[in-house]
């Protein structure tokens, strides 16, 4: 098998891009904002249930230890304490957490052994959070310390008690694979240049300002849990929480609330809702548990990748032909989402370049750190950094301008749809246009003179150019396709919507994924308004819980706008069909004689019409005015489930991975920086970000995503890193020590530009854009810093490069 065998499925699109729209493409103010601005949005800590108790958790002070004995008697005796649970208690009522398997088991409270600092050792339920925290102080735990695996090297070398999960058959190797996609050896043998680099990507995390939390109750009469949670994929993986609680999915109702940011961290936050539900069942009353910031940093579900690379690129005649990538990933103590981060990386591993083959050797190692989860980019941001560093290095070693080298290697626009060596498809694009626009906006041609003049004054200015991919609309195959024999080859990634025209004629849209800082109401409002001719500000939104949920994977992998637009197109089509049928009867004519224009059902002659309100009144109240057929059943409610628009299975022999992330955005980020070589601090003077996300639904909210994501990317490049020392101690678990950018650190103006290359496979030609900024900023910023320090011979192969690290690099540079 080879990528030549991939048959591209035909487009299922119903509505192509139009020259102009009434609502799509307009910078509409967000519908979500008024409650948020007035302090009346309901977040998880705002939920209060009658007779509710409060939980706090005891966290392990050690990175790796056996739990010999836990004495909870003093804590239980404290006035106001309802109950105390340990791992031993949990093991009696629960099964392991979502993502457990292959002998790597995790519980919501550690059973028998702690594997990272901050892992939950016990939980207290009390009348108040204050009392619960008092009680934590009274719990006595005897630990037997085990060898600490603080690095991947130690993890690989470990034996005996240094093996984190004795039941896992490959020691501390969570996963290992070696893939050649295409003719790698031949391409390297034929190369006239081979450029090699060793790169390092530091561990960071989404760190939303709101932590994860849950409020749970258990009704023993109905054997049913109700859990309010700010976790996101409740209508996708919610059954995973039910499984941990040993109940069928229908015995767990997950109720969404507004989430105060996620960036992946709440994509499937499962430990907190599982623990809270477990505590509610044990306590016999509702329980609230909200992580504090330190809980969230130490033991959340979302630490990002921590990778080292040994990678090289083969070049023949100035064109890149092949890439060899050897990567070791520090997974932390448990596995979640299998090898999804690397499947994701392989969706765009060759970047926007016309590269014919790829080798990918992966070793994912278990260490005594918090597990990895999702963080904006889900692993693909790391491969963007890798390929861009390699491209810059190649241009430098060939003595060529980095932009010229890119121009020659970008995939030309006539080659789309384009299948890359791993099998993924790039649906469309115009990369030269994006690059040209970005360079024009920043004034690239004038910069060198400015740089030279500044250097004469002793100022180190630099410019960086990153041309990177922004894959969107994931297919679930990315979670498992690197395994030869997956236990659960999940391939469904649906999104759903329900639309009702109520008895008064108002449109009510039922969403099946939560608000988590994105703009679901605004985006859906614009699309519904476009299709039904109603005022978007007049639409009412509801969020379905799992009792009423339709299949939905929610906002992740930059999929929501594409997927919900598909669902809305399907649902409105059903709704308009029914209303048209009813309008025809009401106007005494045939269905074919009725047009639907701007929210009005009107006869071809134009002399009779019915409004949505009039049809709604009849549909709900006047059944006997219509024929006796199911086509006219009372009410106006439709639902539509929209499946992934373009995905195929991997080849059985894994010679390719199939199409799994095809709606391909692209961007060019260009920062201009000034480096203070005495202090190592970096100031970003100017910043341009040009994106191609296909048809833009709302430039205002898209701009917000681009700027916010860029801020996070700047954080990853310059300021943020979770630090574990040689004892596995987490040394910077606070916002004072883990420094996310403030307004000070941001460039004064991130100038945004768009090129619109509509996707041929999605409704209106929309592409996803939620993660873009963070996927582009790290390589761009690092390239700019390196450019600034070129006179000193500085080479940068890692992030983050905070001031002290940058000073170190400058000191050790050839010209420093």
């Amino acid at each position: 098998m080879s990528i030549k065998d991939i048959v591209i499925p035909p487009s299922r699109r119903k509505i192509g891009p139009a020259k102009s729209y009434n609502h799509i493409g307009k910078p509409m103010k967000r519908l979500e904002d008024p409650p948020l601005l007035t302090g009346t949005g309901q977040f998880i800590d705002d939920v209060v249930l009658p007779h509710m108790a409060h939980a706090a958790v005891l966290r392990s002070p050690l990175a790796h230890a056996r739990i010999v004995k836990i004495d909870t008697s003093a804590a239980e005796a404290l006035e106001g304490v309802v109950c105390v649970l340990t791992g031993e208690d949990v093991a009696k009522t629960n099964d392991p957490q979502f993502g457990s398997g292959n002998g790597i088991e995790q519980y919501c409270i550690a059973v028998g052994r702690v594997r990272h600092v901050g892992e939950t050792v016990a939980a207290v339920v009390a009348e108040s959070r204050y009392i619960a925290e008092d009680a934590l102080e009274l719990i006595e735990v005897d630990y037997e310390e085990l060898p600490v695996i603080a690095t991947v090297e130690q993890g690989i070398a470990a034996t005996g008690d240094g093996i984190l999960h004795p039941n896992h058959e490959n020691g501390n190797i969570a996963f290992e694979c070696n893939y050649d996609f295409g003719t790698v050896e031949e391409d390297f043998a034929a190369a006239d240049h081979v450029i090699q680099r060793e790169l390092r990507w530091g561990r960071t995390s989404g760190m939303p300002i709101e932590t994860s939390g849950a409020v749970a109750s258990y009704n023993p009469g109905r054997s049913k849990f109700e859990v309010y949670s700010n976790s996101s994929m409740y209508n996708y993986f919610g059954h995973g929480i039910a499984a941990s609680l040993r109940v069928p999915p229908s015995k767990l109702n997950v109720i969404p609330v507004y989430a105060g940011g996620s960036f992946g961290s709440k994509m499937f936050a499962h430990k907190v809702p599982t623990l809270t539900a477990t505590l509610a069942r044990a306590a016999g009353r509702p329980v609230k548990f909200i992580e504090d910031r330190i809980d969230h940093m130490l033991s959340s579900d979302q630490h990002g990748p921590e990778r080292v690379f040994d990678c090289s690129v083969a070049i023949k005649g100035g064109k890149m032909t092949s890439v060899k990538i050897k990567t070791v990933d520090d997974y932390g103590a448990y596995a979640q989402f299998g090898v999804g981060h690397h499947g994701n990386a392989l969706s765009q591993v060759t970047g926007p370049y016309d590269i014919g083959s790829v080798r990918y050797d992966l070793k994912a190692v278990l260490t005594n750190k918090c597990q990895q989860g999702a963080y904006r980019g889900f692993g693909a941001e790391v491969s963007n950094f890798m390929i861009e560093r390699l491209v810059d290095a190649a241009a430098d070693e060939l003595g060529e301008d980095r932009v010229e080298f890119r121009r020659r290697n970008l995939i030309p626009k006539e080659k789309f749809p384009h299948i890359i060596p791993t099998g993924n498809l790039y649906d469309s694009g115009d990369y030269q246009a994006v690059l040209a626009k970005a360079l024009d906006k920043i004034g690239y041609d004038d910069f060198r003179a400015e740089q030279e003049a500044a250097l004469k004054e002793g100022r180190y200015l630099g410019i960086g150019v990153a041309t990177v991919q922004e894959r969107s609309v994931f297919s679930a195959t990315e979670y498992w396709m690197l395994e030869r024999d997956p236990a659960f080859p999940l391939s469904s990634v649906p999104e759903s919507v329900g639309i009702t025209v109520d008895v008064s004629g108002k449109v009510v849209v039922d969403l099946h994924a939560p608000f988590w800082g994105n703009s679901p109401e605004t985006v859906v409002g614009q699309v519904v308004a476009e299709l039904l001719g109603v005022d978007p500000t007049d639409i009412i939104f509801t969020y379905a819980d799992t009792d009423h949920g339709l299949p939905s994977a929610g906002p992740a992998g930059s999929r929501y706008t594409v997927m919900i637009s598909g669902a809305v197109v399907g649902a409105t089509e059903k709704l308009v069909t029914k209303m048209k049928r009813m309008a025809a009867v009401m106007m005494g004519t045939d269905e074919e004689d009725v047009d639907f224009r701007d929210g009005i059902f009107i006869t071809r002659s134009g002399n009779r019409s019915k409004t949505i309100e009039e049809i709604a009144t009849a549909a709900y109240n006047f059944r006997l005015d219509f024929p006796d057929s199911d086509d006219f059943s009372s009410g106006l409610t439709v639902q539509h489930v929209y499946d992934h628009p373009l995905t195929t299975m991997p080849a059985d022999d894994r010679s390719h991975l199939g199409i799994f992330y095809p709606i391909m955005g692209h961007m060019c980020h260009v920062p201009v920086v000034e480096v203070d070589i005495e202090t190592g601090s970096v100031k970003i003077l100017r910043y341009v970000a040009v994106h191609d996300c296909g048809t833009v639904v709302n430039p205002l909210t898209l701009g917000g995503h681009v700027r916010g994501g860029t801020a996070q990317g700047i954080g990853s490049a310059l300021y943020e890193k979770f630090c574990y020392d040689e004892n596995g101690q987490f040394t910077n678990a606070s916002f004072a020590d883990y420094t996310i950018p403030s307004a000070y650190e941001m460039p004064p103006d991130i100038q945004i530009g768009h090129v619109e290359t509509p996707s041929p496979y999605t409704e209106f030609g929309v592409k996803g854009a939620g993660e873009g900024g963070r996927m582009g900023a790290p390589p761009a910023v690092v390239a700019a810093v390196e450019d600034a320090l070129k006179p000193l011979g500085v080479r940068i192969d890692e992030i983050p490069i905070g001031p002290s690290r940058l000073r170190e690099i400058i000191r050790h540079s050839t010209g420093g």
């Binding site: 979500e32 409650p35 601005l37 007035t38 800590d45 300002i209 910031r293 917000g704 941001m746």
Partner: protein, 163 residues
Amino acid sequence: MAIKKHELSVEVNGRTVRAEVEPRMMLSDFLRHELGLTGTHVGCEHGVCGACNVMLNGRSARSCLTYAVQVDGAKIETVESLGTIDKLHPLQQAFWEKHGLQCGFCTPGMLISALELLEKNPKPTREEIVDHMSGNLCRCTGYQNIIDAVAYAAELMAEQANG
């Protein structure tokens, strides 16, 4: 181990509140859980993020680092004292117009900080706005639209004052 409670009298959003609280109760918890004013949010509980900012006697304060008993006799204003859905405060209007929020969790603290700035400095420069707002963390927006919103709010408030 019963903890002795202390009497407290405080003006919150123009209303006098009397309560008995444990000396260790944080002001953020008092506002949120005792008074039901859940607009004030708690992001870090160690005084860095500023989501919990409230006005305390006319100056912004971290309610997560302030004990409720410390505000006995004081005047507190929270986000709930600004505008309503039907009649937004110019700051709220400006944050809406300029897309100065995404998840909205940091927003109440941002609004309070911006209010403090504009009350003492109705015509701030961009640098002054950045300087003042840099004590509040936001993870969604990248700040640019927040800075724009505060500048725009200053214009709206000047128009109101003149108009």
